[in-house]
């Protein structure tokens, strides 16, 4: 399993700091799965995924040792 970090509104939607995803799936699959399980994600302006501290494209595959995070719309500054 891959432990997916959650931040900001993503943490509120899931009501947790982490989400468990299958190893070997694509970033796109992860996002679709999250939206299916938590429909509130589909209301966000955007949902991106970071793998090892970099924004990841949809076809990137995530594995157990990757550092994966859901990045809801950012609002720093």
């Amino acid at each position: 399993m891959v432990k997916v970090k959650l931040f900001g509104i993503a943490k509120d939607i899931v009501s947790a700091s982490y989400f468990e995803a299958e190893s070997g799936v694509t970033v796109n699959h992860l996002k679709q799965n999250m939206i299916a399980q938590y429909p509130a994600f589909s209301n966000l302006r955007s949902v991106l995924v970071a793998v090892n501290d970099e924004y990841a494209l949809d076809d990137v595959v995530i594995y157990e040792n990757d550092d994966v995070a859901i990045i809801p719309p950012v609002s720093g500054g």
């Binding site: 970090k5 931040f7 900001g8 509104i9 943490k11 509120d12 209301n43 966000l44 302006r45 970071a50 501290d53 970099e54 550092d67 995070a69 990045i71 809801p72 719309p73 950012v74 609002s75 720093g76 500054g77």
Partner: protein, 140 residues
């Protein structure tokens, strides 16, 4: 590579400290941007802000911004400090300082940095009002 200093802190930011980091005998200009917590947004009174940060990635993304800025402008040094945690009205959320031989580049690089930071850096701001709270920019 440009001389850069980046920090994400959950204690009050010291703008003078950030400015001092970019001083240089080759600099004729330093531009500093300080983002502070406003008492209202869209005519609603704000109680406080709460910032959350994905620190490791945020630092990398800020570093990319500095790298890009120093490709576009003759930046001598650049420093970015961002606050996280609970901020009250008037508190400093971010300080960006840029030194350059001439002023135009300092202004442009600094404005580029804060504009890009707000688009790419994984930091999130929750506005807390009397009657509720909202994650800024989360929804369309």
């Amino acid at each position: 590579m440009v001389d850069e200093r980046i920090k994400i802190l959950d204690e009050p930011l010291d703008s003078q400290e950030v400015i001092d980091l970019v001083a240089s005998p080759a600099a004729g200009a330093i531009d500093v941007f300080i983002g502070t917590v406003r008492n209202s947004t869209q005519n609603k009174s704000v109680q406080r802000l709460e910032f959350e940060s994905y620190d490791s990635m945020a630092i990398k993304e800020i570093s990319k911004i500095i790298e890009k800025a120093s490709e576009k402008w003759p930046v001598i040094k650049m420093a970015v400090y961002h606050r996280k945690g609970i901020l009250d009205i008037g508190d400093i959320a971010v300080v960006i300082a840029v030194s350059s031989p001439h002023r135009k580049a300092a202004f442009e690089a600094c404005q580029f940095a804060i504009d890009t930071l707000k688009e790419t850096v994984p930091i999130w701001k929750k506005e807390v009002f009397d009657d509720g709270e909202v994650w800024v920019a989360a929804h369309p």
